[in-house]
């Protein structure tokens, strides 16, 4: 089991010092994420789901417990460029073309010119944006921008993909479409994905495992193994199995909220 785990958290604590006193963002979080897993984090705001992802990415430093990524500390993993991170906003640079934006991390990581071009072509294809490389971000729709940002995270071929509410700002129709695309992409690339969301259907539809979290202090209240098959057409969301899982997630969220 543990040789499969690419992300391992044990008793992870994180306390922020704010003007209103200490806030416990994470308390005693234990979680193993295995190679090839698609793990969703769901919970109300303040439950620490984004904070956990940021700890994995070494954007926050835990105040207690242990956390390893690919067997290294998060900071070492960051230096080794072990993961691609997709933020809620596409965050593409308006002064660079789509291809230029995807090339950006490759330039930073020192890939050769030829390899840069090859990889850009490949990931543009992967997210269905072939032919749009010469456009500027502001000439594309929000959904296309977010696809470009996923392509950027994939371009340097890290085996972990961390996604922080990547589709949160998009409308439902675009979101459904991108969810479907993301599943296909995951199947094709076999990456390990950590995915933060606040949408129950999204979490259930995408994940092999759903981590339900609750706030004050931020902690895990339930981890649900999805019984759904790997092949998931959009209308799987109307099957009893799907609704069953969604129900369990909702129950978990409610339980975490009970004393509010």
């Amino acid at each position: 089991m543990s040789d499969l785990a690419v992300i391992q958290a044990k008793g992870l604590d994180l306390t922020f010092q704010t003007n209103d006193g200490a806030v416990q963002a994470l308390k005693g979080v234990d979680l193993d994420i295995n190679r090839g897993d698609f793990v969703s984090f769901i919970g109300p705001s303040g439950c620490g789901k984004t904070t956990f992802l940021r700890c994995v990415a070494a954007l926050e430093t835990p105040t207690g417990g242990s956390l390893t990524v690919n067997g290294m500390s998060p900071e070492e993993a960051r230096q080794a460029r072990a993961y691609g991170y997709v933020f809620q906003a596409a965050g593409l640079y308006p002064w660079r073309t789509i291809a230029g934006n995807i090339r950006l991390p490759l330039e930073i990581m020192g890939f050769s010119k030829a390899e840069q071009n090859e990889r850009v072509e490949k990931v543009l294809e992967l997210v269905d944006l072939a032919g749009f490389g010469g456009k500027f971000p502001w000439q594309l729709s929000g959904g296309m921008q977010q696809r470009a940002s996923i392509a950027r995270a994939l371009s340097f071929d890290a085996d972990i993909l961390l996604m922080d509410e990547p589709f949160g700002a998009l409308d439902e129709i675009v979101r459904d479409h991108l969810n479907e695309e993301l599943l296909k992409l995951w199947e094709r690339t076999g990456k390990t994905i950590g995915f933060v969301t606040h949408s129950i259907p999204e979490a259930v539809y995408l994940s092999t495992r759903i981590v339900v979290m609750s706030p004050r202090p931020g902690r895990i209240t339930d981890v649900i193994e999805s019984p759904l098959p790997k092949e998931r057409p959009l209308d799987i969301r109307d099957t009893p199995e799907f609704l069953e899982v969604a129900h369990r997630v909702r129950e978990g969220l409610r339980a975490g909220h009970a004393y509010d």
Binding site: A57, R78, Y85, F87, A89, G91, Y93, W95, I108, M109
Partner: protein, 281 residues
């Protein structure tokens, strides 16, 4: 007197025409956008001519535009010399040195937060001061020739450019900086690829403000002492001789130089910050 009346008739006619164009169907067209201000400007010029002639105003009070144009055409070599002395040697060299110095300082300020928090309030404060007052001191130190003018310009443009570049370098969002971090980018990679391009709209704002300041500095510094060439020198000497046509000719040169200078900077801005919402149009 008839000429004066003609001036006002012309005014009324031109104004009526502009109202018709501005409220007509073609108001949004490029031609109207250029035509209306052109009509307005030409009308003012014509009125100026008519009133000066009509009232027989002496040249020592207000020369007519035709006289200014005549003087301008007749004095091209002198005007060119003055232009080279004041604009090219004084303003331009000072502008380049001042902007480069500000850029270098901005990078230092950017690397050390302590320096930024200390220098920025001081810099904004100094940027609001009448720095042109340093002209007599700098003329004393660097002599009457263009070097002292360039020095005044350096001091004048330094702080506005510094404040704008530094503000621009702060422009990135936390998310963009986090993103750089996830790629384990070095300081300089983040600087060249993210923060400097993001700062460009601010940088150009500073460069545009400074282009005007540079000319003002170079001209006013000449009021405190100059060789016998230069726009500020010519203005002050011609004012003394009551040769107002020459003064106006120099002012025309200053206006052309000023708008050309600004126009060139704005043109480069369009090329560099084509992506910014304000430039996409």
């Amino acid at each position: 007197m008839p000429l004066v009346i003609a001036a006002f008739v012309l005014w009324a006619a031109a104004w009526w025409l502009n109202i018709r164009i501005a409220n007509g169907p073609a108001a949004g067209s490029q031609a109207a956008k250029l035509g209306v201000p052109a009509i307005f400007g030409l009308t003012l010029l014509a009125m100026w001519e008519l009133i000066v002639r009509g009232l027989d105003l002496p040249m020592v009070i207000l020369p007519a535009p035709s006289m200014i144009a005549e003087r301008f055409a007749a004095s091209l070599p002198i005007l060119w010399q003055d232009f080279v002395q004041t604009v090219v040697k004084g303003a331009l060299s000072g502008y380049v040195i001042g902007c480069l110095a500000a850029f270098g300082t901005a990078i230092l300020v950017d690397r050390w937060d302590f320096l930024r928090r200390g220098l920025m309030p001081v810099g904004s404060f100094v940027a609001a001061l009448p720095i042109v007052g340093t002209a007599p001191i700098l003329v004393m130190w660097y002599g009457f020739d263009w070097q002292s003018k360039a020095a005044v310009v350096v001091v004048m443009v330094f702080f506005p450019v510094l404040v704008n570049i530094t503000a621009g370098l702060q422009e990135t969002t936390q998310m963009q900086r986090d993103q750089m971090k996830t790629w384990a980018a070095s300081y300089w990679q983040g600087f060249w690829k993210l923060r400097l391009p993001a700062a460009m709209p601010f940088v150009f704002n500073g460069l545009k403000i400074s282009s005007t300041l540079a000319l003002i500095g170079a001209i006013v510094a000449e009021f405190f002492g100059s060789p016998i060439v230069g726009m500020g020198f010519r203005i002050s000497i011609s004012v003394g001789q009551l040769a107002l046509d020459m003064v106006w000719a120099e002012i025309v040169v200053a206006a052309i130089a000023g708008s050309a200078f600004y126009g060139i900077v704005a043109f480069i801005e369009r090329k560099v910050t084509f992506w910014h919402p304000s430039q996409r149009g």
